[in-house]
């Protein structure tokens, strides 16, 4: 199931569904890396609220996406990691190192809107 990507002002919002397979994830990666240029977006929000499983591949691909988007000059925020998913990620040793996260879409947007420059600095400092 292809992940829908919505353009909202200077941001791109991708909403991931539960039955996400590897092909969908790689498609999402390619689409985001292209669209961030097409729409001159400043940030990408990937909403994983309905994702029930984050395994090594999805975690690695999300990290890759965040790094690629950064190379394109924009920022990435992963929002909506559920408590159970966070628990299993830690058990598996998946840390999403260097990737910014927020509680949910609302928090993520508020964080980016507050001060784009500040948000950018903060996201970059986490990536170090």
């Amino acid at each position: 199931m292809e992940v829908p990507i919505l353009k909202q002002g200077p941001y791109l919002i991708a909403t991931v569904q539960s039955a996400l397979n590897d092909t969908d994830l790689l498609q999402l990666r390619d689409a985001l890396v292209a669209k961030v240029g097409k729409f001159r977006s400043r940030a990408v929000i990937i909403d994983v609220t309905s994702l029930d499983v984050m395994d090594s591949f999805s975690s690695r691909t999300l990290r890759d996406i965040a790094h690629m988007i950064r190379l394109r000059g924009a920022e990435t925020l992963i929002v909506g990691i559920q408590p159970e998913v966070a628990f299993s990620m830690v058990q598996l040793g998946l840390t999403l190192e260097g990737v910014a996260t927020a509680l949910d879409l609302e928090e993520g947007l508020a964080f980016l809107d507050r001060s784009p420059a500040e948000a950018r600095r903060e996201i970059r400092s986490r990536g170090r």
């Binding site: 039955a19 996400l20 397979n21 590897d22 092909t23 029930d52 499983v53 984050m54 395994d55 090594s56 591949f57 690695r60 559920q82 408590p83 159970e84 998913v85 628990f87 299993s88 058990q91 598996l92 040793g93 998946l94």
Partner: protein
């Protein structure tokens, strides 16, 4: 319900099917939502190993009983190249594909029990169980 669910693993789409079926089996036993996620994630990793290392194989899901305890048993089997050094494969950070190094030790942490057998040229079988608390 059927005593056993079999999912043939041939592509990445089957990984999703396997973890959804596994979750459905575990739901019937009344596992907590955290345990359901741990079980589904473990199945996802085991199915992924099949796709990555063997190309095809199968995942069998079964409800098992030990005294008063009930649990879910996941059997992942393939007839791929096998793992030449299973002890090393169980160490964190080790991966024969060089790309995803979390497979087996991670699965052991998600589940309660894990056993595996691998013979070079004959394939790999992994059995993992999680008991309902």
């Amino acid at each position: 319900m059927a005593d056993e669910e079999l999912v043939v693993i041939r592509s990445d789409a089957d990984i999703v099917t396997a973890r959804q079926k596994g979750r459905a089996v575990a739901v019937r036993l009344g596992f907590t939502s955290t345990d359901l996620t741990l079980i589904a994630t473990a199945i996802s990793e085991l199915a992924r190993n099949i796709v990555l290392y063997a190309g095809r194989g199968e995942i069998r899901l079964r409800i098992v009983q030990n005294g008063d305890k009930q649990g879910v048993q996941v059997d992942a089997a393939d007839s791929g190249p096998g793992i030449s050094n299973i002890e090393r494969a169980m160490q964190d950070g080790y991966s024969t594909s060089g790309s995803l190094g979390l497979g087996l030790p991670g699965v052991r942490r998600l589940m309660d029990e894990m056993m595996n057998q691998s013979e070079v040229g004959k394939g790999t079988t992994v059995r993992a169980r999680k008991w309902k608390r």
